[in-house]
């Protein structure tokens, strides 16, 4: 019996390991290669681990100003999250709790615009951005990212608000809060898991976006990190070392944010408020 349990545990561990290797291999391979000297990266047959690990590629990208581009990406991502989540919270709350004319139509529209592929929007938004003088500005990127992500974020928050007990909001109203104040003092504090989930969703898009950023910016000043990484695929050659190093560096902040916000994914934030 004991042995059976042990065997099953071993088997499960082996399967998990296999899945983990499958998922992580590209990243681990990138990590390994980023630590190899340039000549070892492209040698054949490839070796799994660098014979003499080096940080030269990492030093190189920071010499190339990676910090500035990371700063740009952070600025744009943070502003996009702030704008998108504020608007999504207001819109989602209105859809969840107020019965107004055109509510159904708006909800259909929110779903509808989510299904428009970004590629089809590049040219029109490029023209629009140029016309209003926001081409090659970080503000332009923030506005575009927010526009792309707002429907999905609003829909997520709408769903979360619907799951909250409405009596708690009614209590706040009776206790003297206006609808906006109820949202601020009661609904949003109770919606932390939903807000965090929506914010991460927006963050992953804004942080990783390459297509929009490369289209809508041209100068070095407004360049975001994914675009900067692309520049290692140059006209005259591919600089695999810095490219891989930069890619790995760009993963780090996202992982850090996920780990930091993990506690908000805990359920049971509304526990004890209502009975029944």
């Amino acid at each position: 019996m004991q042995r059976l349990i042990q065997r099953r545990r071993l088997l499960r561990g082996a399967v998990n390991l296999l899945i983990a290797i499958f998922a992580l291999f590209p990243i681990l391979w990138g990590l390994s290669s980023s630590l190899k000297p340039t000549d070892q990266i492209i040698e054949f047959p490839p070796r799994l681990l660098p014979s003499e690990p080096t940080l030269e590629h990492y030093i190189r990208i920071f010499q190339d100003g990676a910090l500035y581009y990371i700063g740009n990406s952070m600025l744009v991502s943070a502003a996009t999250i702030a704008l998108t989540i504020s608007l999504a919270a207001l819109g989602g709350y209105a859809l969840a709790r107020f019965d107004f004319r055109g509510r159904g139509a708006i909800m259909m529209m929110v779903i509808g615009v989510m299904s428009i592929p970004i590629a089809s929007l590049l040219v029109p938004t490029f023209t629009l951005l140029s016309a209003v003088g926001l081409f090659d500005t970080r503000l332009g990127l923030v506005l575009l990212y927010s526009a792309y992500q707002l429907p999905a974020a609003m829909w997520m928050l709408y769903g979360y608000f619907m799951s909250l007990p409405v009596e708690v909001e009614n209590a706040a109203r009776v206790d003297g809060c206006s609808p906006l104040r109820t949202l601020w003092k009661v609904v949003l504090p109770l919606s932390k898991p939903g807000l965090v989930a929506a914010a991460l969703f927006v963050l992953v898009f804004a942080w990783n976006d390459f297509v929009v950023a490369v289209t809508m910016t041209s100068s070095q000043e407004t360049r975001t990190f994914p675009v900067a990484i692309y520049f290692y695929l140059g006209f005259y050659g591919r600089e695999w070392g810095p490219l891989l190093a930069a890619s790995l560096v760009s993963i780090v902040p996202i992982i850090a944010v996920f780990v930091f916000l993990q506690r908000y994914f805990m359920s049971g934030l509304t526990g004890g408020g209502v009975k029944g």
Partner: protein, 368 residues
Amino acid sequence: MSTVTFQAVTKTYGAVMALDALDLHVEEGEFVSLLGPSGSGKSTTLNLLAGLMDADSGRILIGERDVTPLPPEKRDIAMVFQNYALYPHLTVFENLAFPLEVRKPKPDAAAIRSKVELVADTLGIGMLLARYPKEISGGQQQRVALGRAMVRDPKVFLLDEPLSNLDARLRIRMRRDLKALHQALGSTIVYVTHDQSEAMTLSTRVAVFNHGKLQQYAPPADIYNRPANAFVANFVGEQETNFLDGTALMEDGQLSFSTAFGAIPLGRPASAVSGHGALRLGVRPEAITATQDPTAEARIVLTELAGADLFLTVRGRDAAEVVVRADARATRLVAGDGVRLVFDAQRVHLFEAEGGAAVSLGGESAAV
């Protein structure tokens, strides 16, 4: 403290009439219960008063002020919800302080603290102030919900089935506490319940609802002793009222009602029943006395012991049944015994078979 007035207030949900032209006036300092089965309009009435719903037509006044168009936050009321609706992200102290914190102008911190502590001590939850709602028991959550309503001397208290989530013992204790609280505060309270015993024990007046219509609005004793119609007679009281079909007839110069249990003297003039069409008789179990009589046609088919009382189900002619209350300690009656029933003429009610309206007791009024 304030009066509350409903003037011809109507509310529909689509095609469903939730509240039909309600007129209701609550005096200052009264404890009024809105009583009825689910879907009767009592909760709609409360939500309309709170401003959580808008009326289709009619006016609602708190004191002299017409609050019909006002949102809840402008009505100066306090409400206790059925599921308490505490703020789960705030401590008990912060929950109690919340209505004061959002006031304009906001009282200073010391005033809030002293007020919260006073209320918490009154309700015996002073030691829970630092806890979160999920860390305290159901009864304690209930007290916090009450405290949150009390903390800010509102014009009217609205209570929406506040005791229905408590277990039976605690419910009866909280009922006493509520009554004591009302006597101490002297505030106007509108209380929604589907539990007739809560309504009867707590209220100065009870408003009975059914199908969106106010059936009767009177002090508990009147509701119990002089129900306005068959619905009220049946809904109010621990035990169901017995209804018997029959016909009124004159016997030895006395008006009586002929039923499956024989002729029941009504003790009122013949004029009392004229012009009402077919009649039904309603009588509560405690208004009937059963005495053993082996020759009698009526037989006991079932006995139920309820502590001090023994309830006898008695079957007469045509399989008609009535429930009779007997003193559990004084009775030796068992199932199968023949019994003779005596009806207390003073406590026998007549209703029109059609519609169920009460037929006045001859001179006295049983109207709303």
